[in-house]
């Protein structure tokens, strides 16, 4: 017969293993997106292929984490901070996996551009800025998770508004370049995808950040629609 102390030890061990896996997953996802952006900007096809392997590792680890979370809930009926840690892990593995998937998509576009001798992304200045800000957000969210620091990510949705605005600006720039025939339609269409991937990655970083706040404090952050937050920013006079 297992005693309460034995059960507690088993839960503590399971939680420690879960945390270890979560840290690895977070590192892999951040590595994937950093590498993907770097390879995309330099049109590095070799590096881009390595992202595919990373994506597979991320997916496999995500499945393992999901299974271990279900086991911990089923076997130990955890509560309070233990339960919040587990449910948060279950939720943010999906976000981290999606970040890895977008990194892979970015790698695929890098290979397509490389094959067609498309000029590097530096042409569209703001897409670099957007990539950097997105990576910063992912870094911030993951760092908050690792350090169990809710305060650093309480305002992360506002960081996302900046990325959303950049997304609109980059989109407009791509359309302009395609309209005046400076950029091929196919290239432009793929840039639009890249732009969209980065914007989605930033959204996932927001999800991670909000979940970290819940995990640490138990507070559910109110979900303010981006459109409502956007009302606080002046509209672009050229593109009302």
């Amino acid at each position: 017969m297992t005693t309460k102390t034995d059960q507690r030890k088993a839960l503590a061990k399971g939680l420690a293993k879960l945390n270890e896996n979560m840290l690895t997953l977070a590192e892999l996802s951040e590595l994937a997106i950093r590498k993907a952006v770097d390879c995309f900007i330099r049109l590095d096809d070799q590096g881009a292929r390595e992202i595919f392997t990373l994506d597979q590792e991320i997916y496999a680890l995500q499945l393992e984490i999901e299974r271990s979370c279900v086991d911990l809930i089923a076997l130990h009926a955890p509560v309070a901070r233990d339960l919040r840690g587990i449910t948060t892990s279950l939720k943010i593995t999906t976000d981290l996996d999606r970040i890895g998937r977008y990194a892979k998509d970015l790698g695929e576009i890098t290979l397509q551009f490389r094959g067609r001798n498309v000029a590097p992304a530096s042409e569209i200045v703001k897409i670099r800025e957007m990539a950097n800000r997105t990576i910063d957000m992912v870094d911030k969210a993951i760092d908050a998770f690792v350090k169990r620091d809710a305060e650093s990510v309480r305002q992360i949705a506002e960081d996302d508004d900046v990325v959303d605005r950049l997304h609109d600006e980059v989109f407009a720039e791509i359309v302009r370049l395609m309209s005046n025939r400076t950029m091929e339609i196919e290239t432009g269409a793929r840039y639009i995808l890249v732009n969209r991937y980065l914007e989605r990655i930033a959204d996932h970083a927001v999800n991670v950040g909000m979940r970290v706040v819940y995990m640490v404090t138990g507070d559910w952050l109110p979900r303010v629609r981006a459109a409502d937050r956007a009302k606080h920013y002046p509209k672009d006079p050229e593109n009302p």
Partner: protein, 279 residues
């Protein structure tokens, strides 16, 4: 000790003197039972230290805490069962439905008619099933045979036991299974139409199926009565209770909606206990 959590809704209740303030997250407006500065001694040992606790009407309130924390003592003080323990002394007030249970004009027998108590181990009388229920009715009311029959049937139905024992009224209650005996004890309590049902670890001697039946019963009964349950089983508290009080070393540490207490306890001590880090 307290972790970061918005405290707007919280009321820190503290006794005027030395009692440790408990974290009371919700102020119960419609309290049927209220302990005010309740202190209890067994001989010279103080078991309960100035507990202030409001128990809401028609809700299930669980009292949890490690062994010896005083949860059963508080429960038993509600219907003055502690009176039966020699050298047990009570100070402070236990307001039940607006009146102090320890007031000078209170008859403990009448008080206990309003407040049923279910024990850890089923304790039916060594009589047949029918007499177990009829006994309390005969004690408290003058009723005809037909009236008593009606009460017995309805109490057994209310306790979800009727279908299992309707043909066994003359059999000894001790021949029933443990789970059935416990539901018989609940039916016996229900027969005198109490307003309050106190349950002191009612499922600790029962298997999971019998436990589930009692838990289902608790859900049904709370429509008509106020239930206070002491339990060692944290999952049971989380399942059946609307509110939960956590006690430690004779003091109330935290009182909150069950969902909040188990999801985001305010006190480190509560957190450590419910997550199994001690106790």
């Amino acid at each position: 000790m307290a972790k970061s959590k918005p405290a707007e809704s919280a009321v820190i209740v503290s006794a005027e003197s030395e009692a440790t303030p408990a974290y009371v997250a919700v102020d119960i407006q419609d309290a049927l039972i209220e302990a005010r500065d309740l202190s209890i001694w067994y001989s010279k040992k103080q078991a309960i230290h100035k507990v202030n606790l409001k128990i809401p009407r028609h809700q299930v309130t669980a009292i949890i805490g490690p062994s010896g924390c005083g949860k059963s003592t508080v429960l038993r003080s509600i219907n003055r069962m502690n009176d039966l323990i020699p050298y047990c002394r009570t100070q402070g007030q236990m307001i039940v439905d607006g009146e102090d249970a320890y007031g000078p004009n209170v008859d403990p027998v009448l008080l206990r008619r309003k407040i049923g108590l279910i024990f850890q181990k089923p304790n039916p009388f060594p009589k047949n099933v029918y007499e177990n229920i009829a006994f309390g009715v005969k004690l408290h009311y003058q009723a005809t045979k037909e009236e008593i029959d009606g009460v017995v049937t309805s109490a057994l139905q209310q306790a979800n036991l009727w279908d299992e024992v309707s043909g066994r009224m003359d059999e000894s209650a001790l021949s029933l299974s443990g789970g059935q005996q416990q539901r018989l004890c609940i039916a016996r309590a229900l027969a005198v139409e109490p307003d309050i049902l106190l349950m002191d670890e009612p499922c600790s001697a029962l298997d999971p199926v019998a436990t589930a039946k009692i838990e289902d019963l608790i859900f049904e009964l709370k429509k008509d009565m106020t239930i206070v349950i002491v339990t060692h089983n944290m999952q049971q508290a989380a399942r059946v209770a609307d509110y939960t009080a956590f006690m430690y070393l004779g003091r109330l540490v935290e009182f909150d909606r069950t969902r909040d207490l188990f999801e985001r306890p305010h006190e480190e001590l509560t957190e450590n206990y419910i997550t199994g880090r001690f106790g």
